[in-house]
Each structure stands twice: as C-alpha cells, then as structure tokens.
C-alpha cells in the first residue's frame, strides 16, 4: 500500500461525509460544465453573427421602405455601380410588387385586417383618382360609396437574384418540397410560400397565372414568417420584364469581403449613390446581437468563476476540518518517519479523490443540464432585452435592431465539446489543488511532538 492508495482510502473513510462532499462538489462542477458549455455555444454564435451579419449592407432606394414611401427604384446603372465598388463580394438584388385580383388567379392567403384596410384607404377605384373612404367611415352617411372599391388583400411577389435573401433566419431558404429556381434566369418559374400554396392547393409542377402569363411552381418554401410564407418568389429579370421595370431594384443586399471593410464600402456607396439611396450597414445590428450574446457569455463566465470558487472553498473547508481532526494521526505519521511531502501527498490525494468523484458526477450532471441552463440564460437575456426596449424610446431603427438582437441570441445551444470537458477537468484539478493548499500548509506546521499530547 503506497501513499496514493492510502489517500484514496482515507477519502472514503467516512462514507456519509464523503458522500455529502461529493454531492456538493458535483453540483458545483456540474454548474461549471453547464456554464462553460453555454459560454462555448455563445462564443460560436458570436463568431457566426460577426462573420455573417457584420459584412452585410442594405441599399434601398431613397424614400422607399417596403411598399410604403415614394421615389424611384434603383436603376441597373446604380446596381452596376454597387457591384463595381471595391471590396464588394456579392450583391443580391430584389424587386417587389403586389398582385391584385386582376393580376393573378392566386387567392391571397393573408387576411387584410384593419391594418391592410388602412393602408389602402387612399387608393383610387378603377383609376378614377377618387379618394377611398377609410373603412371606419363607410356607412350611410358617407357620400360617393358607389364610387369606391372595397379594399382587397394582395399577394406580394418578389423578384430576386438570390432567393436566400428572403429567408428570415439569415441562412438558406428552406424548401418544403420541389426544387429551387434559377434566380439568374428569366423563365416563368416560381417558388410559392407555404401558406399561399395551401390556400391555392398548389404543389410543385402545378401552374398558375400572373401578369397574364403562366408560371410553373418549382417549389414550396417555408420561413416561419407569415408575411413571407404568403408570397411568391420569381427570378429578378422575370419580374422586371413583366412589370416593365427593366433593371429596376427596390433593395440590394451587399456582402462585403471583410467586416473590416464595411465602413469603407458604406462610405464609397454614399459617395457614388448620393441621396438616391438609403444605405444601412448591418454592423450596428450585429453589434446589438453581439452585445446580447456577450451579456450571456459574461454571465456564464461569472457563473464559472463563482462555481469554481465555491467548489474550492468546499474542498478547502473540508480538508481544513479533516486536518484539524487528524492532527494526532499526522503527528504519528511524522513521528514514525513520514516526511512532510508524504503526509501532504496523502491528504492532497484524499482531496483529489473526492474532487475527481465529484468531477465525474458533475461532468455528467453538467452535460445533462447544459441545454436547459443555456436556454434559461438566453430566455432571461431575451426578457431583459424586451424589458429594456419597452422602456426605451421607439424609432425607425427599432424593429431592425430588435430583429437583429433576437436573431443573434436565437439558436444558441450549449456546446459540450472536448474543450469544455477539458476545461471542466482542468478547473476540477485547480479546485483540488487550491482547496488543498491551505490544509497542506497546516499539515506542514503540525509538529510530530503532537503525538505525545495526552487525549
């Protein structure tokens, strides 16, 4: 029997006490693993957000936002200018239009609702130019009712060079069925939103009419966004041709070759496009996301430090108590020829044994709860961010920033990688060593003459 096996046996000398200590250590180490996993997951997400969002710039015609506002779309020359700007890696161009009942045989899947009705209250009936009466004002007292057309829901059609730009998750557009379209071509092919397809009972290879032409459904897409899932996607050139807007673009999403060059590209575009375009960098959005993620990461780091300190204190108090209880035994070992190093090694082994057992259970516990703890941290951050937004002033940038922040902290999952396990094991050893340091010092101070003290 050597000093190590004596240490291991010594650790388990009192099963009840050893069990209690192991449970406390397991909880602390489990928390360390869970926090490390959450931190690793958040760090991965931060890298993704920085890599993806931080290189994006949105160029929209000045004064136009969606179907609101006014002004001229971007021209082919302006798009060419954007593409020719230094450090621009790619440009996804988009043109949107709305289909009325006369433009298509598709039945809209979006209910108009009070919002839609209000948006159409100024529109003319049959091209007369007469102002429509807002729904709230229709009734017997209103004049000229017969002249006004009842508001009707519409279907949005998006012409794009990159269907993925319609995806709301920042990644690729998800096709529920069918195949993609050649967005660079000019064929009459379309991707139909899931809700719209269900409403019109459309399947891949079915056809429908739009702008007096027959279109083939290539695929059905799903975005989990009610607005997008009620729309149609076609190649940009097809829509430009059918709407007689050759070269026109209502939004260009620019990807810069590096996040370091975003500011320079924004500056170049502002110089070249002047007041004809509104240019929005996604860096601000990314920073908002990263800020939220960094908060979670900071919280996880604090948790790791707190749990490590707590575990080290548990070991320290435990070992201090054990050394005080066993002063006489230490004195005996020294009196019969045991060196300080041997005694300290034995007691550190005792601490290490309990810590390792606690560590093994803790790592298993940490892996089991890392998902829910990460989820809890993200949920807490989302709630916190929502509370702060409600308290703060509104503004045009608000929705984009909210979306950005939410997209940033969504999809964060605890990552129990070998590095996390390694970190957990390293911290476990650190706990044992730090927790044993003071008791080791106490052991070294025990005089062998203690053994001659009477009980």
């Amino acid at each position: 029997m050597n000093v190590i096996s004596r240490g291991v046996r010594g650790a388990l000398r009192s099963p009840i006490r050893a069990g209690a200590i192991v449970i406390m250590l397991a909880i602390s180490i489990g928390l360390i693993i869970a926090m490390l996993a959450a931190k690793a997951g958040v760090e991965v997400r931060i890298s993704e957000v920085k890599a993806n969002a931080a290189t994006g710039i949105t160029v929209a015609p000045a004064g136009i936002r969606g179907f609101a506002g006014g002004g001229d779309p971007l021209s082919a020359e302006q798009v060419a200018t954007i593409k020719g700007t230094e450090h621009v890696a790619s440009v996804a161009s988009t043109l949107t239009d709305q289909l009325g009942t006369d433009d298509t045989n598709l039945t809209p899947s979006l209910e108009l609702g009070s919002f839609g009705q209000r948006q159409q209250r100024f529109e003319s009936s049959s091209g007369s130019g007469a102002e429509m009466t807002p729904p709230a004002m229709t009734g017997s007292a209103a004049t000229g009712d017969a002249m006004r057309q009842a508001p009707t829901p519409r279907t949005t059609v998006t012409g794009t060079t990159d269907p993925d730009s319609v995806a709301t998750n920042g990644g690729e557009l998800t096709l529920a069925s069918g195949k993609a379209i050649d967005a660079g071509g000019a064929e009459n092919v379309a991707l139909i939103g899931k809700t719209l397809a269900e409403k019109n009972d459309l399947q891949p290879d079915d056809t429908f009419t739009m702008y007096g032409q027959t279109f083939t459904v290539n695929g059905i897409f799903s975005t989990d966004n009610a607005f997008q899932d009620s729309g149609v996607i076609v190649p940009l050139t097809t829509l430009q041709t059918l709407t007689e807007q050759a070269g026109a673009v209502t939004s260009a999403t620019v990807t810069v070759d590096s996040s370091d060059n975003v500011a320079a590209v924004v500056s170049s575009l502002k110089d070249s496009l002047g007041d004809k375009a509104d240019i929005t960098s996604e860096q601000e959005r990314a920073e908002s996301s990263v800020s939220s993620l960094s908060s979670i990461s900071g919280l996880a780091t604090t948790g790791v430090i707190g749990a490590t300190v707590a575990a080290a204190v548990i070991v320290l108090l435990m070992m201090t108590m054990i050394v005080r209880e066993r002063r006489r035994e230490i004195g005996v070992i020294k009196a019969i020829g045991g060196t300080n190093a041997k005694v300290i090694t034995q007691f550190v082994t005792e601490a290490l044994t309990l810590t390792v057992i606690g560590g093994i259970i803790g790592i298993g516990l940490g892996i089991a709860v890392s998902g829910s703890i990460t989820e809890g941290l993200v949920q807490n951050q989302q709630n916190s961010a929502a509370t702060n937004r409600q308290a703060g002033p509104g503004g045009m940038g608000g929705p984009a920033l909210i979306r950005g922040a939410q997209q940033g902290i969504q999809n964060v999952t605890g990552t129990v990688s070998p590095a996390v396990i390694g970190g957990g094991i390293g911290l476990t050893l650190l706990i044992a060593i730090v927790g044993s340091a003071v008791p080791a010092w106490l052991i070294a101070r025990v005089r062998p003459a203690e053994v001659l003290r009477s009980e």
Binding site: R6, I336, G337, T339, R447
Partner: protein, 224 residues
C-alpha cells in the same frame, strides 16, 4: 549504539512566564540497556522523550547518538533518524484507524525504506513475533483489544530494526496483566535483539525491573 545527553534544557513560554520543562539534564544510555524514566505528571518525562526521539528541538544542550548531535540535524535528516534509528511505542497505541494491523506495520517499513516486495512478509513475521496471528493482523485497530493494539504498535516500532525503542507509558492504558505481558515482551526484545529501550512510566513495579531508572522532578534529573 549509545546515547549521551549533555546539559539538555527545554523551556516553554506560558501565560505565567517561562517554564523549564527540562533543566540542564545530563545522562547516558548504553547499547542494549533497558532504561526507565519515572516521575510525576508534568515532571518533563514526555518532553525528554520528545527530545530523544527528535520530535522536538531542545532550547539548549546536545543529544549525542554515536557521537552525532541529533539536535543539529536538519528537519529532513531528523525524519530519517526517526524512521531508521528510532522506534516509538505510545500510551494511546496511535495506530492509523483505517489501516489494518498489518498495514500499520507496513507503514513503518515503508517510511524506513524497506522494499515494497518485502514489507508484507516482514510485517507478518513481526506481528507473529509479538503474538498477533494472521487473522488478527488483518483486523483494523478498532477490532483489536488494547493489549493487541499495543503489540501491533511494538511490531511497527521494531520494523526497521531501530537502535532505540522509545516507549511513552506503554502499559498506561492496559490492565495489570496485559501491562505485565507487554513489559515482558519489551524486556525480552532488549535481551534478544540488543535493542536499547527507554521507557517513560508511572509504574514503579515496571521501573524496578529495568536495568536502570532515572527520576525526573520539575525538569531535573534526580537519580542516576
């Protein structure tokens, strides 16, 4: 191997002032002698034993073991001195409670540098020599009687063939019959193995049977 103690003094600082536990003590012990030290409680017996066993440092004086002053040894060398040249037997036995009797004896052998492969057999031999059978050897101290524990303690002390065996009240916790048996065991050892034994005791009967008896009173050695 002889011991020569010259002008040994040990003082402690207490609340009431300086206490001289040992006051200028000088004596010598020859190889193979069985010596007893008697005295009342607080007379300095255990303090003297601690100095002889290099468990504590004297305030003044020297302890020459075969001409070498052990009070001048470094801490590491004092540890080696304790492990190889001294065997301790305590009143409270002081066996490690979670180790078996056999393992307690093996522990002393380990500290003395005995090869791992020899420790077990040697320990069984030692235990058999002091009257502990193989079954008892595998029991933990809590499962042994006081006399059996003291025998194990003696076996542990003898493991490394020490030049001196220092015993602090070895029969103090035992009934008279068992105490007598332990004393006989120590006496036989001193005769058969030429082991120098110094026993601190209250028991005048035991002291009377040793080769020489020293009496301590208030830190001073009265009888030579």
């Amino acid at each position: 191997m002889s011991i020569n103690v010259n002008n040994l003094t040990k003082t402690f600082h207490a609340a009431g002032g300086e206490v001289r536990a040992l006051d200028d003590i000088s004596f010598s012990v020859k190889t193979g002698e069985f010596v007893s030290i008697i005295g009342k409680s607080g007379s300095g017996k255990s303090t003297l034993l601690a100095q002889l066993g290099a468990l504590d440092q004297p305030t003044k004086g020297e302890i020459l073991v075969d001409g070498q002053d052990i009070t001048k040894l470094s801490g590491r060398k004092q540890t080696t001195y304790r492990s190889k040249k001294i065997g301790f037997v305590f009143q409270q036995y002081n066996l490690i409670p979670n180790l078996s009797a056999l393992e307690n004896v093996m522990l002393g052998l380990e500290f003395g540098g005995a090869p791992a492969s020899e420790r077990k057999d040697r320990s069984f031999e030692l235990l058999e020599m002091v009257g502990i059978d193989a079954d008892q050897a595998r029991r933990k101290p809590g499962k042994l009687s006081g006399g059996q524990q003291q025998r194990v303690s003696i076996a542990r002390a003898l493991g490394n063939d020490p030049a001196f065996l220092l015993a602090d009240e070895p029969t103090g916790n035992l009934d008279s019959e068992t105490g007598a048996a332990i004393f006989t065991l120590l006496h036989d050892l001193s005769r058969e193995r030429q082991t120098t034994i110094i026993v601190v005791t209250h028991d005048l009967d035991i002291a009377g049977k040793t080769d020489r008896t020293y009496t301590l009173k208030d830190g001073k050695l009265l009888t030579k």
